[in-house]
């Protein structure tokens, strides 16, 4: 009962470790994880470089009707790599954000209407009920693992990601890849979704980077002076 991963360095999982994990999985409470009810397949690109595009498998839970939180994996398989996360909020919530914050969020209208965003395994008529809502939402995505440049570990700093906003941006290969694997037609679904409308107030001009790219940078900061920390327990390990 060992497992390994073809692209992540490391030894195969030992049998003893795997057994322990079966035990913990049975005994413990996984309440926040049990809220994850939905798998969405979509595509992101790096917010400073549209030529770097990534297929992104979202596993989403609702906090409430207007907010979702999603784990992003590079595939839908059991050994998928956890590469990032996305928060999805309604238009009303988006409009409460400070302007500088709005830039970090992207619109979903095009992803939905083009058929690029879909729920694997779910029939179109059911899927569309959620797509109607998603078309009006905004998302904020960070990726921590740059699998597209073949990093076999999550190196470097977080990357702000964007979603597609018009025809001609996404690589055709990426689209054909999901069409073949899932037996779907993006073009056909686009027709089915023609009736769906985007945000009530239109896509906010500051969303999607405010039409600019976004780059993250690391900066060193001085640590607070040590006497600003409560003394606390000194849990010596000796």
């Amino acid at each position: 009962m060992s497992s390994t991963h073809p692209e992540v360095p490391g030894e195969p999982t030992k049998t003893g470790t795997a057994f322990l994990e079966t035990a913990t999985a049975t005994i413990q409470s996984f309440a926040p994880i049990n809220q994850i009810h939905q798998h969405l397949c979509a595509f992101h690109f790096y917010s400073y470089d549209m030529t770097r595009q990534v297929e992104a498998h979202h596993y989403c839970a609702h906090q409430n009707e207007e907010m979702r939180q999603c784990l992003i994996y590079d595939s839908p398989d059991a050994d998928a790599r956890l590469i990032g996360l996305e928060y999805v909020i309604s238009e009303p919530l988006f409009l409460t954000l400070p302007d500088d914050e709005k830039r970090l969020w992207h619109s979903h209208e095009y992803e939905v209407k083009s058929g690029l965003l879909f729920m694997p395994g779910v029939p179109g008529s059911i899927e569309r009920q959620d797509m109607e809502k998603l078309a009006k939402t905004y998302g904020k995505v960070f990726h921590f693992w740059q699998v597209d440049r073949r990093d076999n570990l999550p190196l470097g700093i977080p990357q702000v990601m964007m979603a597609f906003t018009r025809d001609g941006q996404i690589y055709e290969d990426l689209v054909k890849g999901v069409e073949n694997r899932y037996g779907i037609s993006v073009a056909k679904e686009r027709e089915n979704r023609a009736y769906i409308s985007g945000p009530t107030h239109g896509i906010h001009p500051l969303a999607n980077g405010g039409a600019k790219g976004l780059k993250t940078e690391l900066r060193e900061v001085d640590c607070k002076p040590t006497d600003s920390v409560p003394q606390g327990l000194c849990l010596s390990i000796n």
Binding site: T4, G16, T17, D77, P154, P158, G168, G213, C223, Q231
Partner: protein
């Protein structure tokens, strides 16, 4: 334009931990239930452990949080964790942590190593616990984890009252046996009360766990260098292949 350590004061906070928004409609519940039946959700089903521990913001180590890690092991040397602020149904997804063995860590370039933290103290001191798991079961896994290093990005600063995830991700650091790395007693006692456990007793029971032969000084960067890290997000020109947006 945005940074991990600067806060937007525009959004009011009222102490309610739940994010703003209408409660889920019946229709949404039905949709979710339908999806759950039709979809396999395999990567999520592979999460096999829940651990509760503590972390602090590397740009301000006086800010400490309790964290709940939901962990998947990809192989003997690598784990990936979805991190929440509680283990309740409404737990907020606050970040992601990756955990690697010392073997893998030693191969990383020094500039990468400084983003990682060690786990030896956190585990041996009893701060890291697997709630509801008897010590005898968690022991082999903890002996493995004692020698690992973690990299933890926090994307939702709930401890400063953010109702929604704002700003840039923050790099987090682990508890350490020196001043800035010590967990506040209030935080610790609240956790222990909740699970009816004693961190002190756990520490005693873990005394014989083997210690790593050495901990790489590039990890826990603040200890040797007195520096933490912040992430800035800056506007730039996007490399395009088609008009945007």
């Amino acid at each position: 334009m945005a940074s991990s350590e600067k806060s937007s004061s525009a959004l009011a906070t009222d102490g309610d931990p739940r994010p703003p928004g209408q409660p889920m409609t019946v229709e949404q519940h039905v949709l979710d239930k339908g999806a759950q039946i039709l979809q396999s959700l395999k990567p999520v089903k592979k999460m096999s452990q829940h651990a509760c521990t503590f972390a602090s913001y590397s740009h301000d180590m006086t800010r400490q949080i309790e964290t709940h890690h939901y962990i998947t092991r990809l192989n003997q040397d690598f784990l990936q964790c979805a991190v929440y602020d509680t283990d309740h149904v409404h737990g907020r997804l606050i970040g992601i942590e990756y955990i690697i063995s010392d073997r893998i860590f030693e191969d990383l370039p020094p500039d990468e190593q400084k983003l990682w933290h060690s786990h030896a103290y956190e585990i041996k001191s009893g701060l890291w616990v697997n709630p509801r798991v008897p010590g005898i079961i968690e022991k082999p896994e903890l002996e493995n984890l004692v020698k690992t290093y973690g990299k933890f990005w926090c994307t939702w600063q709930v401890d400063r009252g953010d109702k929604l995830p704002l700003g840039a991700p923050s790099l987090m650091m682990s508890p350490q046996p020196v001043n800035l790395g010590q967990v506040s007693p209030e935080l610790l006692h609240a956790r222990d009360r909740k699970y009816n456990i004693s961190t002190e007793a756990l520490r005693a029971s873990r005394v014989e766990f083997p210690e790593p032969e050495w901990i790489n000084p590039q990890a826990d960067y603040w200890k040797q260098h007195g520096k933490g890290f912040a992430i800035d997000i800056k506007l730039t020109d996007m490399i395009l292949r088609a008009p945007f947006p």
